[in-house]
Amino acid sequence: MTVIGEEGTTKLLLGNEAIARGAIEAGAHLVTGYPGTPSTEVIETLAAVAKETGMKVQWAVNEKVAVEVATGVAWTGLRAMATMKNAGLNVASDSVLSIAYSGTEGGLIFYVADDPATHAGMAEQDDRLFAKFAALPMLEPSDPQEAKEMVVAAFEISEKNKVPVMLRSTTNTAHMFGDVVFGPVKKLNRTPTYSRDIRRYTKAGPAWCMEQHASLIEKTKKAGKDADEFNRLELTDSKVGVITAGAPWNLLKEAMIRHGLNVSTLKIGVINPLPEEKIRKLLERVDSVLILEELEPLIEDYVLRILGEMGKKVKVYGKIDGTTSPVGEFDQAIVERALGKVLGKNLTPAVDPERQKLIEKAKSLSLRRPITFCAGCPHMGTYLSMLRAMRKLKYSREDVIITGDIGCTILGMNPPFDACWTEVAMGASIGLGNGFERSGIKKPVIAAIGDSTFYHAGIPALIDAVWNQTKIVVAVMDNSIVAMTGHQPTPGSGYTTTGEAAKAVKAEEIARGCGVEHVVVVDPYDVEKATEAFVEALQYNGPSVIVLRRLCAITAIRRKAIGKPLVIDEEKCTGCMTCVKTLSCSALVPVGKKVRINPDVCIGCRICAAVCPVKAIGEGSQHE
């Protein structure tokens, strides 16, 4: 949904769209980041309206670069924001910690979207702890309206206290639609200025570093006070209190309405520094307190500390006593159970065992849908060729280690290919592969990595392979797009985030530049040539790079750059199901004892034609 509109307009926005609107209202000069669920929509939303707003909106090559670019802008006195998913903050963390010491001039926000319950894979890391670790102020909204308000406030607070502010959400808030009332849009028209001040902007010597550290601690304290309006304390005469933050606040509020509860509540919006005064006020009032927070017991630990200082006995319900789990996200049932425990009441709806049996039966009948490659996905051609090359060289599946990486390429770990052995982090397929080779294990190693992942964090590991003379095959599966997160451009796409033409950075040129001597570029739709490329590379004594270049099928469909659907000659088809079992392409549909191609789904990639043992698959005209 567009985030352009007059002040006072109400729109149903996604949490991330509301954050984008907040950046517009605050007059941000630049927003950058790296795609990662559930953070991606902020930049997508801003990119769609960049022409109208005049904002610079750019995907960065990785999160570390994004943070650095945003900071450079902010140090000239303009406003900037960098966006990333939880794992992205790990990549950026080196720069974030250092930048924190220097602070900022213009408003600077680092937005991180965490993912309890790992809807998008990866770790359930709780980045609220990161704010503490980096000593940076952190705000966390509960809904889209508050997310927008926090962005506007965070820019002000960051600027006033000269400190970057972290904004944290979780999947539930980032991907929740809610009503958002538009505020006024600031036109800042600032001129960038920057003066040399090495005492502030370098880390030369312990005295300056410690001075910067002490100043950071003070700034963060003040920033917390300035954001205190986001900590909402509602005291009642109840002896029970609940402290919560983020998405669980919505569940608490609903449970209170549903069951007519009258407990005291503190809804925390400032995660770092935690609002000591308001926490004390609530604790003074109650005999027992429930801490409703997802993942780590961050607030709970703090509450226990405050209680220790107060010398007051209050029963604390949270993670430590097992009232809630540090794993997964909360839902109504979890919150009602926890509230029931504190209140000594049963708030959980009665379960009819007969009915529950039926529900369990229904769920047991439903089949899993492991995500697979799209019809026409070039990665099918890559994995098919890789496995064929292994067979040609008489390797079994167990003989070759295939390290996987982040993005659509990792779907090669699933049936029917069952190819990848590992998935660690962006770019890790190559570094890990180097390690396997250097262990001396008698197995060749293939690193399977996407183009954007290669640019993001794969290049240093490739240089490491060259430098240390590692025999490894690196398959750069170049579909020229960040496919998994929704088709954002990469440095190799040839255009910018907002659609202007740009120089395409080519993986083969990088590989040669890094010193790799065996570099080939093939089309993964050409299974024969791609197989040959893997055969050669597996026999090459040194690091080799195969760039498998073919546009992502979904992007190709959107650009109408696809072939005609193929057809299966019913007379020739023996019903052996080799095509279905080898590729599981969604265009191949078993009908009776034979296979048909669904013309609505097939884009004519011809990979299945290379698989069919009786050559029954081809263009329609040949067969009709």
Binding site: K11, W249, L251, I359, S586
Partner: protein
């Protein structure tokens, strides 16, 4: 919380769940209804399970529908309806497309797709009413299988169980779908309405 309306949409990526969501959200926004909504898209661009939770009402805060509290379950795929059983309660009306998309395990011959008759009988025991028909076939007759989800929308509108009238949903659909696909979507919407009329005998 009688004024609360919980609508759960389940299906497979690429089936048009997003269109349905946009139409209902647009209709609700126009009417000034307060709401919360949530999409679970997983990692899948295509082929994975997709779930959308739409909640309307002045007392709604979370975007999660509580177990057993769906007023309507719109299932674009029968297998996905089964997966959503936790949300079905005695008040749930189920509108379901019976033509399923086969998961990889079925394509590879390792699993059998759930038996439709067994499923419908189960859903009837769990929910209030079940309206199940081949919406792909109706969409094809209407002009394109792309409009499959709009067939189910037509049924929702005709059943008159949402806090949005038939005309409000219809108009939001007309204004939301791409102009070049408008005719097939209008035909699909009407086909969905007709399907309900057949059952209700009107």
């Amino acid at each position: 919380m009688s004024e609360e309306f919980n609508c759960l949409i389940v299906g497979v990526g690429g089936q048009g769940g997003a269109t349905l969501t946009n139409v209902i959200a647009e209709a609700a926004t126009r009417k000034g209804l307060r709401g919360r909504m949530h999409e679970t898209l997983g990692m899948a661009q295509r082929g994975g399970s997709v779930q959308v939770q739409i909640r309307l009402g002045s007392q709604v805060y979370s975007s999660f529908i509580p177990p057993g509290q769906a007023d309507v379950l719109i299932a674009l795929d029968p297998n996905e309806a089964l997966r959503a059983a936790d949300y079905i309660g005695k008040k749930t009306t189920i509108i379901m497309n019976t033509s399923g998309i086969l998961p990889v395990s079925v394509l590879m011959g390792k699993d059998k797709y759930p038996d439709l008759n067994e499923e419908i009988s189960l859903l009837k025991q769990l929910g209030k009413e079940v309206y199940a028909y081949d919406a792909y076939e109706l969409a094809k007759q209407a002009g394109s299988i792309r409009a499959m989800s709009v067939v189910l929308l037509g049924s929702l509108a005709r059943l008159n169980i949402a806090p949005l009238t038939r005309d409000e949903l219809y108009q939001a659909m007309v204004d939301t779908v791409p102009k070049k696909y408008l005719q097939e979507n209008i035909a699909a919407f009407k086909a969905g309405e007709k399907e309900i009329e057949k059952v209700l005998g009107k």
